[in-house]
Symmetry: C5
């Protein structure tokens, strides 16, 4: 588990590398390239889904719901990416809207994962579950309303979404969830919990950055935004699940051996 | 389990919020928006189906049929929503008829769930099973015949369906099923049973209201009706199954640990 | 198990009711309605298949082959109904031929079920297996040859098929299979065996009646025939499997608890 | 198990009967009929695949690889038959070539089954595995090269394929595989092994006969050849797997009860 | 396990034989033939995927992740081959690009397998995991950038990819991974590890050879290259997984019997 931070860094580096390569591609066959990243991440999501659904039988029963949900997150992302790829190939349009259909389901599920893994290790108050669920819904729905233009100004949607995100960060760092993790007294678990927090902090920061540069400032073209979103989703959803699987395997071994 | 009522309230609030947002959307890109809710609920139904089908192995054998049926309900709804979405995208038409194909199978299965979870906890007379099955068939078939125009008047279909529904409510509140639940003496079970009853009472009340406003009074347009039905189905089918899964997990733990 | 006869009666009543409703529909949107029953039964068959395939792990090992076969029967019917629905929607034609593709596989499997459930409960001579298999093949192939016009007269095909059916009824009522069931000395099993016999006797009688009225006398239109076949298959395949699942669950409980 | 030879005979009789019926059909609606047998066998292959994949969990661990492979054989055949049916419906052409894509994978897998079931019962030298694999590849590739016209003469391909087949028969009758089976000392196993040998001897003889009559002598039309191949594959692949499943169930019972 | 090298040789011989046959085909119906190898390998990949996913339940828990990953590798290859076959049939074009989508996921997974099987047998430092992962990413991304023309010269991409490959060979032969395998002290494991190394050394050498002859020297036509890649992938992915499955079965047996 101690390599998890390294893992995150490696993948971020990889994303950077890929993006550098992509930046050049943009000028050569830009429409094609976006499609390729859609295809690549689709395959990755599918492989991750199959992996989580099969590996869930290898962890102890109390961890299985967490692994099931990890697979649902990548599975729904897989279907949406297949769908977005199809739209892309046919129209060359990108429909950030469809990302929200994905996010409306997967982001709350990801925040619920913090509750599920805490509940796998010790008794936790269910208030954590509700705060994480509501916070994530505020974040996604706020962002959607702003981006789709249903609010007086896009800035308002951005502020609502940021408030939701900051609240979530508070909850998992210093709030009841964060304190419950710290009290677990299990080193492997604490490391994994930190890695998940890093994904939610660093990995998710791409979305508001994309929002700021793409929608508020208009300084980034939609194709680059799509490529960035695709590659970041790779980390935020697959690595997120792998961290949970890894700690579940590790703690299953400790107990059942 | 004590948060279940809160859960229902939260989702109802969420539905309300979504609908408020939708109301505005209607004027902007109404045909698109209905399609989006079809897509969103399709994904939710699929995820719920996968969740129930995988998690059934985590509960004790006596609860598995209930979880299987919960997955069948969301699975059939998933297929029908995919189908309705396809029809929608191609024709812009909505075919309430297809909802009845879904309801003809899922509504009786949901009422049978009351019998299945009672049977998982104690010996219950099979008469409960038959009364719930027949009552739900009367309700759905009555509604269908009225809505499709095979009865002398739409009002007659409405009356038949309402009679079926009221009988079902009687059965699960004060009838043999309700009394059997009360006698179970298990607090977690009684809370879950109450939550399911609330869904059947409050959540299902949307369907006759839609019938009244949409068909009898004509005061609601078909698009809004579709959006309402879509979001309510999200609660009525997925939350319904989650409550059963939750009590099954909880009582499996109590016994097998 | 004592409610099984009631179950059969209820479903027959339901079929009657549906058909009454259908009769009227015929005049209104006849081509549509047949398509709807194709769609409805497709969903029912799919749900039943998923149910049997998942529930087989809940019964004891000796009953699992029976449940597997019950799922195969509804699964093959599902595929054929999807296919027939597609043909129907495109051509408005009905192709009784495709029903025989279904029946050629499912009818022998259903008769083999009598052997499988007997073998799950006691040692039975394998001669029963062969007689049921051959009898059912004679019945289906005879009917097919007659209906497709490969025999000198349709009446000859009818006679061959009826002979096969009557032989099967003899075997499961008074023949070695019937006697083996009677000797099992298990009340739940005997009741289930009787219910299956009732399906084969009453439920299957629709097919020769359809043959007589539809092909020999020509007094029934092809659309009504399709609706009848669709609804009867619902009982003959799904209820048939549910009876087997029910007795398997009941006898698994008796033994393993 | 003693009825297995009878089983083979019954199915051969059934094939004969079907073919007699088909022969007449040829003159009536020949193109349709070939399509029907493609459809029928597709369904049978699918049902068999589902059966083997589910039933593998009911046999002891040492037999599971054999059942997995039995399911792979019918599964690949299923996909190829679906594909061939599609080609048939669209073009009315038959492409024996596609049968070789099936055979290149399934025939070696079937010969490997002899090794797998021997290895499930006793320690066997792996030389048997390699000889069966290479012999079957020689047979299929030889036949393909001859039939596709890549060899100087079709007769040469026929001779190579026949040499491969005769070698395989030698191996499983009198060679190391045959002697290992005889030495197993288990009556049920020896009977099953004999039944599999009969399928490879009698059932497979149809392929060279079709080659002789269809390609070398040209005395049989391509449609009849397709119907024969379809029905023979039904026996050679499904009954082959059922024999293995049957002996696996029987020997699992002997040991684990 | 001692036959594994023989196994590799046999398959290489088979590939050679197939290719000899193909060489001739090229002149006859070249476009068709490439499509056939796409179809053949698709089926093989699918069968292998189903095999690994089912057989994983037969090995001990510590080996299951390895088998899961083996199935993911063939599964992703299956999907990409289906896709490439579709592109081929429609356009007659071959898009080496799509192979990189496959390779970007499967090649790193294959190198990770060396870590996974070492970790199944003894405690290994996680540094091995990261070096294998990064080395394989350097190799694939380097090759891609060169082949797609994003680097100043194709030769540069070739050099980067070769450096990655040589580093990987160093790691698994003489580096920490190689030493860990040698120290395992388990004969069956060492043999399997050697066989996997041979695949990575001999089997993978086809890719740079194809690069040299196809892209740098232009002395090989794109169709032959596709056929070679298809057949080599058959060995490099399926045999690779079979070796892992074989040693997992063998070591599971040793322990659990």
């Amino acid at each position: 588990m101690k390599n998890l931070k390294l893992f995150v860094l490696v993948i971020i580096a990889l994303v950077g590398l890929s993006f550098a390569a992509n930046a050049e591609t943009m000028f050569l066959a830009s429409d094609d390239f976006v499609g390729i990243t859609f295809w690549l991440i689709s395959m990755g999501m599918l492989a991750a889904t199959a992996f989580f659904f099969m590996e869930r039988s290898s962890v102890s029963v109390r961890w299985r719901s967490s692994i099931t949900v990890a697979g649902l997150i990548t599975g729904i992302a897989f279907i949406n990416y297949m769908y977005m790829r199809g739209i892309w190939v046919q129209t060359g349009d990108t429909k950030t809207l469809y990302r929200y259909i994905d996010w409306l389901i997967t982001i709350p599920l990801q925040m619920v994962e913090f509750y599920l893994i805490l509940a796998a290790i010790r008794k936790v108050p269910s208030g954590i579950f509700w705060r994480l669920l509501i916070g994530s819904l505020v974040m996604v729905i706020g962002g959607y309303l702003g981006e789709a233009g249903y609010l007086p100004s896009r800035m308002l949607g951005f502020i609502i979404a940021m408030a939701g995100w900051i609240y979530l960060l508070y909850e998992i760092f210093s709030g009841e969830a964060g304190r419950a993790a710290a009290k677990s007294g299990n080193k492997a678990f604490v490391t994994a919990f930190s890695a998940l927090r890093m994904i939610v902090t660093v990995g998710w920061s791409i979305y508001p950055l994309g929002y700021v540069f793409g929608y508020l400032m208009g300084s980034i073209d939609i194709n680059s935004l799509n490529v960035i979103y695709n590659l970041v989703d790779f980390v935020n959803k697959i690595a997120f699940g792998l961290v949970i699987w890894s700690v579940a395997m590790s703690l299953t071994g400790t107990r059942s051996k």
